[in-house]
């Protein structure tokens, strides 16, 4: 939650109403026009009830004042009861309707955003924090749907109230009515002014609050460092600056908030005062009854509610414009990587394809993958990969080695078509891979990342993610193939063990084994692996090693390799540095050259042996 709130900071307040933007957001309400109409109807009736109440009170008073002991009060009692029941029913209905509307719209916006996010390319995710995206689909969605559900109601109700009150007063006594209506313009102005102020000052409070949260977070995470540096006093001083800012901002907000209601009340009392004075004169002159005077007092005090509500709605809509903009940004972001028109046409005509062809009508078997002078840059002018050419034949393993940030991961991302090359071409059996179906191609890939990502579910379901229709036996079979079966069987719940958030109930090695099983189950034609660097105990290390050997057999494999055994067995070793392939060949060839690979190898040799000796223990 704290993560979501920390992204609220960027709220910008727009002072101009962006009609085009809201029209797009309003389109989400189109399926619910019937609900909207019903809601508007209810709002009119509610306003009617509220205007009727003071009128009823006034007429009772007139009746008893006039008839004394001969009064018949029961019809009024029945009338009041009817009004009470009617009002309760209306309240029940309108909360139900508005709730249903806002919930339905919330669902729809969220669904549409999620669906769209699934289509967006990787670059989009690399530029945005998960927390930022989460805030769009949670707090922004909630805010917009609440506005759509309630603001229409507020506006219709408010307008009806104002009209109803005005008409009632004009009919009763138009001169007195005009005198009372004088308070409306100042009421409107005051409401607008205060609500603007409060919008800004409460934002400042929220911002100060997120800084406080960050401060607490830091103090907890860095507690040992703080202690070892004996920085407690200084940290407290710095924190006190933050909490002072929070105090001042909150106080500023509170001063405005505390003034709003009293000012409104005072303005409304002017209306009451006018009624008592001018209305009193009328009563004495016989042109107004006491009951009507009471009606006027009742109606005049009801004025402030709709004005307050309506100005709140307007402020809320303007305040939510930033949310609307951000949601719209997500929805309108064009997926940069998707099937070309030609490919889509071929997929559409898939019935005519031969049975053994892929959905785009081309051969389903991949015999080789070729990079031709591939170049790529995440930011223009800063290439991370240039002139990269390589060929991988079926059954071959390509090991990518070299320093961090040299470009290994970029090669893999391009291979997986998470990104597309800006220069050169990537060919599958001689066909540009943009000419192939994206979904088909990616489903031929088996990918195991350095830090394996697992879902918070059972081990069984995590493995099954590789092939959704796999039977339980096939899941176990895959686990057995990668040697994961042993440790899974040792767990209390076996395959039904929950792996926890991000798989944190398992060790890194175990996670990697499950990720391998998942990839094996999907039976990919191209296998991509980023070996884990973090230390894994010797036992698991051996298991993983033989599992990897198993998996690589007979497939095209790209491995970002950290283990010597993987590298040594590779058919080709590419040493990547500074976005270029600086050496290539087999292990023996490269050792003999005594170049970059040679020094990488000797380093790795020492480290692996050190680790092994340290782990072996006496």
């Amino acid at each position: 939650m704290s993560q979501a709130t920390s992204f609220e900071d960027e709220h910008v307040v727009h002072s101009r109403f962006d009609l085009a933007l809201w029209r797009k957001i309003l389109a989400f309400g189109r399926p619910y026009l019937g609900l909207f109409a019903a809601l508007a109807g209810v709002a009119v009736l509610v306003a009617g009830c509220e205007v009727a109440l003071p009128l009823l009170v006034g007429s009772v008073i007139d009746h008893v004042a006039e008839h004394g002991v001969n009064s018949t009060i029961w019809p009024y009692a029945v009338g009041f009861l009817a009004l009470s029941v009617g009002f309760a029913v209306l309240i029940f209905t309108f909360i139900g309707l508005a709730g249903r509307l806002s919930i339905a719209i919330c669902y729809d916006i969220r669904e549409a955003s999620f669906r769209h996010l699934q289509q967006l390319h990787f670059g989009y995710y690399d530029q945005r924090a998960v927390g930022w995206l989460m805030a769009r689909l949670t707090s922004d969605c909630n805010l917009l749907s609440r506005i759509m559900g309630w603001s229409l109601l507020d506006v219709v109700w408010g307008v009806c109230m104002l009209v109803g009150i005005t008409v009632a007063m004009l009919i009763l006594n138009w001169k007195l009515a005009l005198a009372v209506l004088v308070v409306v313009p100042p009421l409107v102005l005051v409401c607008r002014w205060f609500q603007w102020r409060l919008l800004f000052s409460s934002r400042k409070v929220r911002k100060a609050n997120s800084h406080l949260t960050a401060g607490f977070n830091e103090s907890i995470q860095g507690v040992k460092t703080t202690k070892s540096l004996v920085r407690e006093a200084r940290n407290l001083e710095e924190f006190q600056e933050l909490s002072d800012t929070m105090f001042l901002d909150s106080m500023r907000n509170a001063v405005y908030a505390a003034a709003f209601w009293p000012v409104l009340l005072t303005i409304c009392s002017a209306a009451t005062g006018v009624v008592l004075w001018y209305g009193g004169l009328n009563v004495m002159a016989g042109t107004l009854t006491v009951g009507q005077l009471v009606m006027f007092i009742g109606l005049a005090t009801e004025f402030s509610n709709p004005i307050q509500e309506m100005s709140r709605t307007v402020t809320m809509i303007l305040g939510a414009q930033a949310s609307a903009e951000r949601i719209q940004q997500v929805l309108e972001h064009e997926p940069a990587i998707r099937d070309s028109d030609d490919v889509r046409q071929r997929i559409a005509g898939r019935r005519d394809h031969p049975a053994d062809a892929a959905e785009d009508g081309m051969p389903a078997t991949i015999r080789n993958v070729r990079f031709e002078d591939v170049g790529f840059a995440y930011k223009p002018g800063q290439p991370v990969l240039s002139d990269c050419s390589l060929t991988a034949e079926a059954g071959q393993t390509i090991a990518l080695v070299g320093p961090t940030g040299g470009g290994k991961s970029t090669i893999v991302s391009l291979l997986c078509r998470f990104y597309e090359p800006q220069e050169g071409r990537i060919l599958i059996d001689g066909t540009e891979y943009r000419q192939r179906s994206l979904a088909w191609y990616q489903s031929q890939l088996g990918i195991v990342l350095q830090t394996p990502q697992l879902f918070n579910d059972t081990i069984r379901e995590n493995i099954r993610y590789g092939r959704l229709d796999a039977s339980d036996e096939q899941v176990v079979e895959a686990a057995r193939l990668v040697n994961a079966d042993g440790f899974i069987a040792d767990l209390a719940d076996g395959y039904d063990t929950k792996v926890g958030e991000g798989g944190n109930q398992l060790s890194t090695g175990q996670k990697q084994l499950i990720a391998l099983a998942r990839a094996v189950l999907s039976d990919p034609q191209i296998f991509v692996m980023d070996e884990a660097t973090s230390s894994v105990d010797t036992e698991t290390e051996k298991l993983i090693q033989s599992a990897v050997d198993q998996v690589l057999q007979g497939r095209i494999a790209f491995v970002i390799a950290h283990r010597l055994s993987t590298v040594k067995n590779a058919d080709q070793i590419l040493v990547i540095d500074d976005g270029r392939i600086v050496e290539r060949g087999t292990h023996h060839e490269l050792i003999a050259r005594e170049g970059r690979y040679f020094s990488l190898y000797t380093n790795q040799f020492t480290e692996e042996h050190e680790a092994r000796i340290l782990a072996a223990r006496d």
Binding site: I73, K224, M251, L293, Y465, T602
Partner: protein, 603 residues
Amino acid sequence: MLWTHKYRMLWRQMAGHRLRYGAALLALGVAIGLTFVVPLIIGVTIDHGLRGKPIERPWLASIVTPETLRNGLWQLGLLIVALTAAAAVFMHLEGVLASRASESIVRRLRDTLFDRLQHLTCRYHDQAETGDLVQRCTSDVETTRSFLATQVIEIVRASANLLIALPVLFWLNWRLAIVSTCVLPLIVGFALVFFRIVQSTFKAMDEAEGALTARLQENLTNIRVVRAFARQAFEQEKFDVRNADHRRKHWKLYQVFSVYWSVSDFLVFIQMGLALIFGAAFVAGGTIPVGELVTFWLYVGIMVWPVRQMGRTLSELGKALVALQRIDEVLSAPVEQDAPDPPAGLPDRLEGRLAFRGVTFGHQDDQAVLHDLSFEAEPGQTLAILGPSGSGKSTIVNLLLRFYDAEAGVIEIDGYDLSRLPRKYVRSQIGAVMQEPFLYSKSLRDNLKLGRHEAPDEDMIDVANSAAVHDAIEQFDDGYDTLVGERGVTLSGGQRQRVAIARALLQDKPVMVLDDAFSAVDTRTEAMIVNFLRRRKGRATTILIAHRLSTLMHADRIIVLDHGRVTQQGTHEELLRTEGLYQRLWHIQTDLEDDLKQEMAAV
């Protein structure tokens, strides 16, 4: 826990601001008193002014006559405005005073919590979850704040309304007064019972929202896996299930709310209707005049709405008390205690003579334990520790920094028993670099100077050079002013370690501890830094935990640790001559040469 304890807790928090609260309540009382005059004025004017009824109450007769009322209608109107304006001033005063009190209380609460967090024992932090602690310090404090700022006042307002209105109503006409207030307890009771019953609905909604958010987070963080297996449709389906469940629970909540609001509004209407109809009957029977009915009617209107709110507010009280209790748990957790009688005349700077004598420490039942550990280091010496992970290396550092205290045995620094020295004093003598160093979200400059604020920039750049991080820092657009962390750049593990080493070097303490401080630094850079440390030899007693022999070999003494016991110790030369872990590690080099020879031969 006694139920009164919670309220006492609340009362304690208000210390120092109780007067301000009192003033706020007083202002509120005055404001309510003033507003309550208005319905009286209207009633009296109607009865005696407009309808010309003779004034019977003597006190009223002594103030006004029907004639003055008739002639001074405009003055009466003005009086209403003036009274309301005066009430408004007091209301504002009340609001500001109450906010000032509550905001001051929570500011103090936040500061206290922050300071407390820093002084809690490491054991406490080890078992506490960061998220939970942060929540206690933020959202629980916020719940307390909103309770102190608004809900306390709301309850007081509703009660004050009743307290002031009831006597007036009973004084005017006790029978009508009873009729006009008889539903009020029902309204409060309904709200209390209702919110207790529907708590499960709220919880279900919260859980559905949590599940939806969790699903979303899983999808977004694992988006690579989703793509890698082209599982968009599957994910969409899973998300839709949660989204629909959320919709259903949300809808339930609205249904519950529509019941609540319609029923409580109905009760409010009934209360007002009773007052009106019975009042009208009394008027018809001649028991009360019309104006008094109007007064009653207006009073009921003023009273009933806050009472309706009060039911809800009272049910929120429980939440605030729970929040306060969670805060109190943090505030009453154990903090680090120093021995009551520290040795007198401690020097500003110790020499750095270290000794562990028979130290035993059992971290947890089966983890990282030290058994009867003894070693010594003279000032300026370098002591290297080598051992497999989990052998107790870091525990030695934790004990030295007094994050924990040994269970048996003595740790001495310059002959002083560590456990008798103030913790802060001990820590101020040690420059420590942890395996996963923490950097604050400040500029690199501030981070480097954390341990010595007054250090000139030249010294800072010097140490940054020594720790081989100066060039990396210069690469950033803002150089040393670059912000680190969430709002700034993310440093790699190796860069963070090097910054932390530079930070410790700048501190220039008599004891320096490097706890696996090179684990993410590449071999060549490590060698550079170690060379610098060797040149600086003698400045500080250094405890060096590492696993590369080239880093350890120059130490004055090397300890090989396993399962919390010293298995070997001596100089590099001594250890090389003895069969054991150290020797085996040293022979890797020979193994490598053999391996390479084989590889070459195979070509």
